[in-house]
C-alpha cells in the first residue's frame, strides 16, 4: 500500500456544505486553478491516510450531470475520463430528494460512490430523522456516512470509507429500473453501443444509452459521431413517444424520481412542519416586487463602499511603503553593492518594484470585495439579488447577476472582472466582463479631476458626472449591440434559480474563499504585469539619439518618446495630436492614474515628484511603516463607521457628519503647475475629448491580465481592439462635433 495514490472527487449540489467537507478533509493543502480550457474554478487538495496519498478534487456544485451548464460538463468529463477511485456525493439531508437525483446519475455512471449525508443546521432544525442504513440499502449498498459539517462529525468514518473504496474499487450498479418500453429500447441501444469498441472503452454502455435517449446535447453533438447509432437513438425515442405518448426524457426523469421517492420514503421520517419558514417570511420582504429593488440597491451601495472606501487607507499605506521605504532600501542595497545610479538600480526600482507594487496595492481592494461578496453568497442573499435584478438587466440582454460586477466596476475594474464569477453561464460572464471596463473606475477619477479643474474650475463636477454617465450609456449600448450580433444565437438564459434558506454566514468559509481568490489573482497577474512594466521601462530607457546614455535619457529622446511621436498624428482629429498626450495615454496602460503622473513628468520637468530632503535611516523607516500601518487601520475603521453617515446622507434633508478619527482632513494635491501647463497645451474642447478617450480606451494592464486569466487571450485582444476603436471614435466625435458647434475656442 505504500506510496499508493488515490483520486477522490467531491460532488454535490450547490450550497450543501461541500466546501466545508472539502476543507475539513484537506486542511490547508489546497490548490485553486481553472479546469483545462474552462473558466470554472478547480479546487484540489491532498490528504494522507496511513501511507495512502489521496488527491481530493472538488467538482463544481451542480444539480445533475446533464449538459445544461459548463459546471455540469466539467464534472461529468472528470468522472468519465479521469476515473476517480471514488466519488463522495455530499447530500444535504434537508433536500434529500433533489440531492439524490445527482447521486442516481453518479451511480448510473458506474463509479464507486460514497454518500456523505450532511445533516445541515436546517435539516436538524426541522427535526428530520434519516435512517442511514435504510438509505444505503435503498441505494443498492452504497455506503452512507452521516456528517455534520459544522462540527466535523463523521469525518473519520468518511476517511475510512475512502480507504475501503480505494482498496476494493468495488463498482455498484444503480438499480433504477425504468418503464418497460424504455428498458426495451435501452437494451437495444446498449447492444448497438457494445458493438463499437471506441465507445465502450470510454463510456459505460447503459449510461451512454440513457444519454442518447435523453438527447443529451454534449453526447449527441460531440461525443458520439456514429451516424447509425444516432439514427437508432432517434428511432428509439420516436417509438417511445408514439407508444407511450410521452417523450423518453420525461420517462427517464420520472423514473429517477420514482426510484428516489421509494428510497426516501423508507428512510426518512419528518415531523409535520409549518408551511411558511422563516426564510419565506424574509423573502416576502427582500424579494418583494416593490421593496426588493431598493433593498438590493442599498446592499449594493454597501458593497461599493466596502471596495471603494474601506480598503482605500490600506491601499495608500501599501503604495507608500512600496514607493517609499522599499524602493529606498533597494537603492541603498544596490548602492552598497556598487550598483548605485546604474541602470540595474533603475530597472529594479522603477520597473520591478513599481510593477509588482502595482499589483500588491490591489490586494486590500480585492479582499474587501471578496469578503462582501462572500457574505452575500454565504447568507443566501445573492440568489435573491439575481432574482430581483433579472427584469432590469434583461432589458439590455444581461442576467440579473450582472449588476454586481457593473457596480463594483465603479471602484475598480479588476475585482469587477472577478466578480463575474458569480454568473453561471460563460456567455453572460464574458459579456458582463466586456462591459464592466466602461464603468469609470477609481483610477480614472484623478485624470478627470486634474484636467477638469484646470479647464473648468468649479464647474468640473458636472463634467465628471457626465463622464460617468457616458460610461454607463456606452456599456448599455455595447451590451444591447453585442446581444444582437455576437451573442445573437444565445437566447437569454431563462430564469429559474434555487433560493437556499437564509443563514448566518460562516466567517471561516467566507475568509477561506476570499483568500484563495485573492492569492490566485496575485500569482497569475503578477507575472504578466512584471513583464509589461519591464517592457515599458525599457522603452523609456533606450535612447534614440546619439549622445544620450541607456536609462539616463529625457522622455522625449527615448524610444518611448519617439514612438509617441509616431502615434501622435493618429490623435490629431481628436484635437490632442501631441507626443506628450499620446505618451501619457501609452503610460496609462499601466494604470489609468499614471496618465496624470506622466503628464506632470513631461510638462513640468524639474519638480521632483518625491521629496528627498533627507534620507531616513532603516530604523526610522521601520517605525514609519509600523505607525502608518496603525494609522491605516484606524482610517479603515473610520471608513467602516462612515458608511452609516454616507448612506443616510443620500436621503434628502439628512446631513450627518462623517467621523474623522485622525483630524487630518483632505490634503490638497499640489498640481497647480501641471494645471497651468495643461491650459497652454490643450484647448478646452481637446481636453474634453482627451478625457473621453481616457474613459473609453483599453483598460489598465492589471485588468487585462485579470481578463486573460479568466477568459483567455482571444477575448482580451477583442477587448483591446474594440475599446481602442471606440475611444478614438468617441474622442473624434466630441472634438469634431464641438468644432462644428462652435466650441473650438
Amino acid at each position: 500500500m505504500a506510496s499508493q495514490v488515490v483520486k477522490i472527487a467531491l460532488a454535490g449540489n450547490p450550497n450543501v456544505g461541500k466546501s466545508t467537507i472539502f476543507n475539513a478533509l484537506t486542511g490547508s493543502r489546497q490548490h485553486v486553478g481553472n479546469w483545462p480550457g474552462k473558466t470554472v474554478e478547480k479546487k484540489e487538495g491532498r490528504l494522507y491516510l496511513d501511507g495512502v496519498d489521496v488527491i481530493v478534487v472538488d467538482l463544481p456544485g451542480t444539480y445533475s450531470l446533464s449538459a445544461y451548464s459548463i459546471e455540469e460538463i466539467v464534472s461529468r468529463e472528470f468522472i468519465i475520463h479521469e476515473h476517480p477511485d471514488a466519488v463522495i456525493a455530499v447530500v444535504d439531508a434537508a433536500n434529500l430528494e433533489r440531492n439524490l437525483y445527482l447521486v442516481t446519475q453518479l451511480l448510473e455512471l458506474n463509479v464507486p460512490v460514497i454518500v456523505a449525508l450532511n445533516m445541515s443546521d436546517i435539516a436538524r432544525g426541522r427535526g428530520l430523522t434519516i435512517d442511514a442504513a435504510r438509505l444505503s440499502a435503498g441505494l443498492n449498498g452504497t455506503p452512507v456516512i452521516e456528517t455534520v459539517g459544522s462540527n466535523g462529525l463523521g469525518l473519520e468514518a468518511l476517511k475510512q470509507a475512502i480507504q475501503q473504496a480505494a482498496a476494493s474499487r468495488e463498482q455498484r450498479r444503480a438499480v433504477i429500473a425504468y418503464d418497460a418500453v424504455l428498458e426495451r429500447e435501452l437494451a437495444l441501444l446498449q447492444n448497438a453501443i457494445e458493438a463499437i469498441p471506441a465507445l465502450t472503452q470510454r463510456y459505460q454502455p447503459r449510461w451512454l444509452a440513457i444519454k442518447l435517449l435523453e438527447n443529451d446535447e454534449d453526447i449527441c453533438g460531440r461525443a458520439v459521431t456514429d451516424d447509425a447509432l444516432l439514427a437508432a437513438a432517434r428511432a428509439a425515442a420516436e417509438r417511445i413517444e408514439s407508444e407511450t405518448g410521452d417523450d423518453a426524457e420525461t420517462w427517464i426523469t420520472d423514473g429517477r424520481y420514482a426510484f428516489i421517492s421509494s428510497v426516501v420514503s423508507s428512510a426518512v421520517s419528518r415531523p409535520r412542519e409549518a408551511l411558511e419558514t422563516t426564510s419565506d417570511k424574509i423573502d416576502r420582504i427582500l424579494t418583494h416586487r416593490i421593496y426588493g429593488l431598493p433593498i438590493f440597491l442599498l446592499l449594493m451601495w454597501l458593497v461599493f463602499q466596502m471596495t471603494a472606501n474601506v480598503s482605500a487607507p490600506l491601499v495608500d499605506w501599501l503604495d507608500a511603503v512600496i514607493s517609499g521605504p522599499l524602493t529606498r532600501w533597494t537603492a541603498a542595497l544596490l548602492g552598497a553593492l556598487g550598483f548605485g545610479g546604474s541602470w540595474l538600480e533603475a530597472l529594479l526600482t522603477e520597473a520591478v518594484i513599481a510593477g509588482v507594487g502595482g499589483v500588491l496595492v490591489f490586494v486590500p481592494v480585492l479582499i474587501a470585495l471578496y469578503l462582501a461578496i462572500g457574505v452575500l453568497e454565504d447568507s443566501g442573499y445573492m440568489a435573491r439579488a439575481a432574482f430581483v435584478m433579472d427584469r432590469v438587466m434583461r432589458l439590455v440582454g444581461l442576467h440579473g447577476k450582472s449588476f454586481l460586477p457593473m457596480l463594483v466596476g465603479f471602484g475598480c475594474t479588476v475585482p469587477a472582472v472577478y466578480a463575474t464569477r458569480t454568473l453561471e453561464h460563460d456567455d453572460d460572464r464574458r459579456l458582463t466582463a466586456f462591459l464592466v471596463t466602461f464603468m469609470s473606475c477609481g483610477a480614472r477619477l484623478p485624470v478627470y479631476v486634474v484636467i477638469g479643474t484646470a479647464f473648468f474650475g468649479a464647474s468640473s463636477g458636472s463634467l465628471v458626472f457626465g463622464l460617468y454617465l457616458l460610461g454607463i450609456v456606452v456599456a448599455l449600448a455595447t451590451g444591447w449591440a453585442l446581444k444582437r450580433t455576437v451573442y445573437r444565437n444565445k437566447p437569454p438564459q431563462p430564469f429559474v434559480m434555487e433560493l437556499p434558506p437564509y443563514r448566518a454566514p460562516r466567517l471561516r468559509d467566507v475568509w477561506r474563499q476570499t483568500w484563495s481568490r485573492t492569492s490566485g489573482f496575485v500569482r497569475k497577474a503578477g507575472t504578466l504585469i512584471l513583464a509589461t512594466s519591464i517592457g515599458i521601462w525599457l522603452l523609456m530607457a533606450v535612447p534614440t539619439s546619439g549622445g544620450a546614455q541607456f536609462s539616463a535619457v529625457a522622455p522625449e529622446a527615448s524610444l518611448f518618446g519617439t514612438l509617441s511621436k509616431l502615434a501622435a498624428p493618429v490623435f490629431a482629429p481628436a484635437g490632442f495630436g501631441t507626443w506628450q498626450a499620446s505618451g501619457a495615454l501609452v503610460s496609462g496602460l499601466i494604470a489609468k492614474e499614471v496618465v496624470v503622473g506622466t503628464m506632470s513628468q513631461i510638462y513640468t520637468p524639474g519638480t521632483p515628484d518625491a521629496d528627498q530632503s533627507e534620507a531616513p535611516n532603516l530604523l526610522n523607516d521601520l517605525a514609519g511603516i509600523g505607525s502608518s500601518f496603525g494609522e491605516a487601520l484606524v482610517l479603515t475603521a473610520q471608513e467602516v463607521v462612515n458608511i452609516v453617515p454616507r448612506t443616510l446622507n443620500i436621503v434628502p434633508g439628512i446631513n450627518m457628519a462623517e467621523a474623522d478619527f485622525l483630524g487630518a482632513g483632505d490634503q490638497a494635491d499640489d498640481t497647480t503647475a501641471l494645471e497651468a501647463a495643461l491650459t497652454q497645451n490643450f484647448t478646452p474642447l481637446a481636453a474634453v475629448a482627451f478625457m473621453v478617450f481616457v474613459l473609453l480606451y483599453t483598460p489598465c494592464m492589471v485588468t487585462i491580465s485579470a481578463m486573460r486569466h479568466e477568459f483567455g487571450r482571444r477575448f482580451v485582444l477583442y477587448q483591446i481592439a474594440y475599446t481602442l476603436m471606440l475611444a478614438w471614435i468617441g474622442a473624434v466625435i466630441v472634438y469634431q462635433g464641438g468644432l462644428l458647434l462652435g466650441f473650438g475656442g
Binding site: Y68, T253, L275, D283, E498
Partner: protein, 82 residues
C-alpha cells in the same frame, strides 16, 4: 389536460401539479433536475416577488421563476396539498 393553466395564474398557498412544460429539451431537462418534472407537486410560496414567483417543491426546496419561464409551465390544482 382538462383544467390545466399556466403557472402564472396561481395564488399564494395553492397546491398544483405540473402537467406540461412547453419548452425546449434543454430547459425541460434543467427544470427536471431542479425537481420540476411533469407530475411533480409544488406549492406556491410567493406571487408578489420581483418579476415572477417562488415555489416550494416537496415542501423543502424554494425555486424562483421569472414570469416568462412560469408561463411555459402548465399546472392543474391538487386537493389536499403536497
Amino acid at each position: 389536460m382538462a383544467n390545466s393553466f399556466p403557472l402564472t395564474f396561481v395564488s399564494r398557498g395553492d397546491h398544483v401539479t405540473l402537467t406540461d412544460i412547453r419548452a425546449g429539451d434543454k430547459l425541460r431537462q434543467h427544470l427536471g433536475n431542479l425537481g420540476l418534472h411533469i407530475g411533480a407537486r409544488v406549492r406556491i410560496v410567493q406571487t408578489d416577488s420581483a418579476d415572477g414567483l417562488i415555489l416550494a417543491v416537496k415542501n423543502d426546496v424554494r425555486l424562483a421563476l421569472a414570469r416568462a419561464t412560469a408561463q411555459k409551465i402548465m399546472v392543474s390544482p391538487v386537493e389536499g396539498g403536497v
